[in-house]
Symmetry: C2
Subunit: 353 residues, 2 copies
């Protein structure tokens, strides 16, 4: 007799990126050369100085690099993160408000576990990071996607947000800036309006900012500064300094919510990976290396964006909003495909075979 | 207006190890020298060859070490794990049945998420690994601790298990072998009896075996072999090869449950840390280094155990069961304290100040 499973796990779906990876692999097997453009996979490894520091530390005959750490990350790292936030965004956050977690995914999971209850409504932009879509059903909440129109540069539609919030079921508004996959950086006016809604109605703003050091035009708005009691900020070290596989990130917000998020993070992973904590600590503490590295990878990704845009402009019928940040261009290829005699839907479906 | 939290998070407690760590720190600050004996913190780092391989790889100017990996871990590692299980336990497990996860804690969390529903009863030995106690309430289940008597070497009481199971509410039996903190290695007879109960009543056996290569006397029983459709085995690379902070482990069981556990693991951490995957792959593939390392750390820990036991025997009124595996001695110090005029409870409470 085989024992039954938990029904809630049935709500979980494979991440869309995983599905895309399988499609790409499948096409390659059929001899079709595919360049994978959809995932947020960085192309710049961490600074050499930092990697060599770690290489040296690996020679030591001690448990220093390998031991368990406190669940919210070790204090020195949380202090370095607080300093980094102060330095880059001029915002004061104390180490007690920061929870170091096992990557962006754990930041999202621990945060949603902490704030969402079954039946809550969660507002998301449409389009936005698709990783939310396969995880949120696990929490038994209702997703409310609100179109962020391409013709307005994918800025959130504040009036539409208000209209949903007035129904009184909203628990959280999820915002990504710079956004994946639109490349949109939120404008201060829209951010302020959403912050005000959150404060007025007692909502959480989950502000997901893994690309905050990857902005080509415009500024990164601190949502925390606009609504410190209502904002939970999520960050991952995946893109900067470029260790997506190593799984390290942090969450910050009011100390009380940070404490609860830390308990979920502890329940799910005990502590964030120590080796990644040491690497990032070395990176953040060496301010010169830190600043030089940001300038370097920004130049690399800006160049890639410009090449991409230039090439896309050469194709008739492709329209897109020029990304101001992150590492994506979201292009509408419908008319271009139609001009070549393809229907969009069968075309997409054939990719999914 | 500050938004509310999820009630389920209220069920989470700080891990007892964290609390113990704070006590130790507190006592050290008061100038009291404390040797921390309670945590499963290994003292032997990974083999030098393996660490130097990683140090070398860190010099590369590529994203190889840093990229995202498939959520259940990369295939080559799962193949190496299957080979290792075959080699050490003579059990056939396919890579599709193995999910590499972010450490033992994530193995436990992903497994419990997958199999437990609110109201289920979960049988635990008493005493056993206390990490379960602060996490299980999150799943809204009923814990049924069954005394594993010290006078029987902490072997499970099979009749007591049967009695609970007959009530018809049990979903899972959790067994740790070698056990933390008792050092008990489960006997084949008891393991077989529990496997039979699980099969007859359609229950899961969650078989937690992070110390399976750390046995001084006796043999490691494969629960999976006894009940392949009902067993979920959990392993962590924390003690062997000694990377607790790096967070890597695996789960194996029927392919269908492995697939579901992988979805929870993905939702919580996206993928297990790539750097730890590379280190462990290098370790497991180099069979000579692997075998030499097991012999080495077993000798180190066996010696420590023997010193500990020898010293404990010198103290009047201390009784304990000689551990056959893991890295703990669970000693009853009640009579020894009483002989010195201390009451046990106030003594323990004074440590918790």
């Amino acid at each position: 007799m085989i024992p039954p499973y938990n029904k809630r796990v049935e709500a979980l779906r494979e991440s869309p990126t995983r599905a895309i990876n399988r499609i790409v692999e499948h096409m390659r097997k059929r001899g079709i050369d595919v360049i994978m453009l959809s995932a947020g996979e960085p192309g710049v490894p961490p600074p050499k100085e930092v990697r060599l520091w770690l290489a040296k530390a690996l020679e030591e005959e001690s448990m220093r690099l390998y031991s368990y750490t406190p669940s919210p990350g070790f204090l020195e790292l949380r202090e370095a993160i607080a300093m980094d936030i102060k330095d880059l965004e001029n915002v004061d956050v104390s180490p007690e408000q920061i929870v170091v977690v096992t990557g962006g995914q754990n930041a999202i999971f621990s945060t949603f576990s902490t704030i969402l209850s079954p039946g809550d409504e969660v507002i998301l932009m449409d389009p936005t990071y698709f990783g939310y879509l396969n995880m949120l059903p696990y929490f038994d909440v209702k997703l409310v996607p609100l179109v962020a129109p391409p013709e307005r540069g994918f800025q959130p539609d504040v009036e539409a947000v208000k209209e949903v919030v007035r129904r009184g079921k909203t628990k959280a508004i999820v915002l990504v800036s710079p956004d994946n996959p639109t490349g949109r950086v939120i404008e201060r006016g829209a951010a302020k309006a959403i912050a005000d809604i959150a404060v007025d109605y007692g909502l959480w703003v989950v502000y997901d900012e893994p690309y905050k050091t990857l902005i080509y035009e415009g500024e990164h708005v601190s949502m925390y500064e606009l609504a410190p009691e209502n904002t939970i900020s999520l960050y991952a070290f995946s893109k900067d300094p470029g260790i997506p596989g190593w799984r390290l990130g942090y969450v910050y917000g009011p100390a009380e919510v940070a404490k609860r998020i830390a308990l979920v993070a502890e329940a799910t992973t005990y502590n964030p990976p120590s080796v990644a904590q040491y690497l990032v600590l070395t990176y953040l503490k060496n301010r010169e290396v830190r600043k030089r590295h940001i300038e370097y990878f920004k130049a690399v990704y800006a160049h890639r964006r410009d090449v991409m845009i230039e090439e896309l402009r050469k194709i008739d019928g492709i329209s897109f909003h020029k990304p101001q940040g992150s590492m994506f261009v979201l292009a509408d290829v419908k008319r271009a495909l139609q001009a070549k005699g393809y229907d969009v839907l069968p075309c997409v479906e054939s990719l999914l075979v």
